[in-house]
Subunit: 420 residues, 2 copies
């Protein structure tokens, strides 16, 4: 089964919004084994929308359309769909009732005309309820094409996909007895892409048109995504295991931190939970990002008491006990300061581990000796402190994100989880 | 001048990567006045890539292609381009020299064959230097189409766009004397989209096919984007001013926090700088995100000494001085606790303002009285403390992000900047 995603919105084409919906939908379809062949973004313009509907409907079985269903004049999607399916817009009673109750939950008793207008849908569609918003979804199952139109608001779109659209597609797949695609992703850290490819070169002999291996680099390392085509889950599992087994045989295990839908932060939190240990953070250049990354993980409160954001030197000194001599002699971005911060926060919050990050994120503050991108990271443990300096690049946001990832990687390696 | 963006990569079609490149390119093109008509994502597959090249090249003057230039076997872009332009791949001397120096800067003296292969490009292209990576960019200016192929790594792509591609397009535009599109964006906070539309309804009479007004909601409010078509910058400025003036006349100024490429955090930091004031943070459920948002802004060190991440109650008590009686009687998610945290951090770090955030981000920890999404925010000032409770939704990440935005909004309103 082939699918395409059409996201509609001028805001996407002038770059004011990053299209996170597309990635989420893509992932959900991949998990069902539906092959997403294309993702197209077009403007809130009748002619452009119709052109894309025509083009995409030619080559796919499923077309997921998002956006353009809001209450304002620039929202065109349902008008184009009514014309495309040659039918009228009619008020849906259930959509109207839902709209009233959603607005009531937001404390609004008054129904504006432009909100009521949102309950009107093309007469040929099935209405999909939107529990979180006022725009109903629409499902058309006609002429060999399953077309679904959903709001662009991520929480609304996701709920409707999960509750209605994905189960519908899954049922259709089962009826068709289609071949399936399955994926398995192995997360690595600390080996450059070209070297990984070199080490995994011998795997080429077992890859063919039914199985692929992709290298996906990002700030926290390179992910290896295995993809296989199969007739059923058992066969797919067998093929995935064969390739994954070869990868584990060829790579140093300390370079692999997890599989699937995980992150380094999730693995670190899970390891701390298993060991009944805790970690506290002392952050300078990352200023809270490391604490935020750890607490992105639900349930992290049992392993994370908190931390201190010591952006100013006085805070490093007064709150973390970094001696003024260190700050004056070596500076805040130094091995000595990073170690003192890590020890300080560990003792102060009585945690098993203390991590510190202190660096020059940029764009200013660099010197020839300590250029922008210089970051010291230290981890204090019950047995001592280890530290390391990194030289990232010139981009502030990337430097901060990389610092967080390397700090988590350092903690993970200090814990020795890969040896367990 | 019309443009299209083609991003290539299986990882985008199975949702493992969010396409942030497309938004950035879209924004840069919009700033030049180039109309982006479509953005298409396709897989690393020769037939699909060629199909998209054919389809897109039909209707645009500029086609920006990213991705598929890595050193591994799944990178297909330049092979398809060579076949599309009917020429051979040849090693570019300058690309090879660049590759050697980029790898040397990363501490690698050895050049793997698969890296050297990256210096080979279609013979008909002009090579674009990649200062940050090993894959060269390619520019084809043939048959009325300007086609540019760039790596998918954001920092590499952005540098090459900024240094080479955008200046090239700008020069071309000038030669053609094309009509231009210009945009102006006004950021609002605290008014729902439908109400904004209601208040701005009278503007419809001055909008036509040459001028548009779009409503773009996100977690920090609704942005109003005015777009106008004009023959030159002067005419565009005149039209934009006329519409923006009407908007300022109709809206409460406390609902507008800035214009253009700004964020609430940037406006807050700029206001603190003007006033020579400082802010410190005490974060529970956001656990560092608020500090990170403030320090996302370069130069924030002069207004932000730091903060305390008090995830555990003991940290709220010991480090922020929240009395145990408050924690036991009212709980950590309470008006009393939020106020004590804000006062505590303000005094402790000797800042002009102290902001606190304490809430239930979810998915667990909610009760009928304090459901998931309940968040107390307080701001301590030299004149006292104000506080407010919010009820966000059930999604952990959204709750944390909204908490950060409302905390910044509360500080901004307490400062009374909109009255200046």
């Amino acid at each position: 089964m082939k699918a395409s995603v059409l996201t509609i919105g001028d805001e996407l084409l002038i770059g004011q919004v990053i299209n996170s919906n597309a990635a989420w939908i893509a992932e959900q379809l991949a998990l069902l084994g539906v092959t997403l062949v294309r993702h197209v973004t077009c403007s809130d313009d009748d002619i452009e929308i119709e052109r894309c509907l025509r083009e995409e409907s030619r080559s796919v079985d499923v077309l997921i359309v998002t956006g353009g269903l809001g209450p304002t004049h620039d929202d065109r999607t349902k008008h184009v769909l009514a014309s495309w399916y040659e039918c009228e817009l009619v008020e849906s009673e259930e959509a109207y009732r839902n709209l009233v109750s959603v607005l009531a939950a937001r404390g609004r008793a008054e129904i504006l005309d432009r909100n009521r207008e949102q309950a009107r849908v093309p007469s040929l569609c099935s209405v999909l309820m939107n529990r979180h918003g006022t725009a109903p979804g629409m499902l058309f199952d006609r002429n060999g094409l399953l077309l679904v139109s959903l709001p662009g608001v991520p929480s609304e779109m996701k709920a409707m996909m999960t509750d209605d659209v994905l189960p519908f597609i899954q049922k259709r797949l089962k009826e068709q007895g289609d071949t399936i695609m399955r994926y398995r992703t192995i997360h690595t850290i600390g080996i450059a892409e070209a070297y990984l490819a070199e080490q995994l070169e011998p795997l080429q002999d077992i890859l063919d048109e039914h199985s692929t291996l992709a290298f996906l680099p990002n700030v926290s390392g390179v992910r290896l995504r295995i993809g296989v085509q199969a007739t059923d889950d058992e066969q797919a599992g067998y093929r995935l295991d064969a390739i994954a087994g070869r990868i584990y045989n060829r790579l140093d295990h300390s370079a692999i931190f997890g599989e699937g839908n995980t992150t380094l932060a999730a693995e670190v939190v899970a390891a701390l939970m298993r060991r009944s240990e805790t970690v506290a953070v002392a952050e300078s250049c990352t200023a809270g990002l490391l604490g935020a990354a750890i607490t992105d993980i639900a349930g992290s409160s049992s392993v994370f008491p908190g931390g201190i954001i010591s952006y100013a030197n006085e805070v490093k000194n007064r709150e973390l006990g970094v001696p003024m001599e260190i700050l004056e002699t070596y500076g805040a971005v130094s091995d000595q300061c990073a170690r003192a911060m890590a020890r300080g926060i560990r003792e102060r919050l009585d945690a098993t581990y203390g991590i510190s990050v202190t660096g020059i994120a940029g764009p200013d503050g660099g010197t020839s000796e300590k250029p922008v991108g210089t970051v010291w990271i230290a981890v204090a443990t019950p047995n001592g402190v280890s530290s390391k300096v990194y030289r990232f690049g010139s981009e502030r946001l990337t430097n901060r994100q990389r610092s967080v990832n390397m700090a988590l990687a350092m903690l993970w390696q200090v814990m020795g989880e890969h040896d367990v």
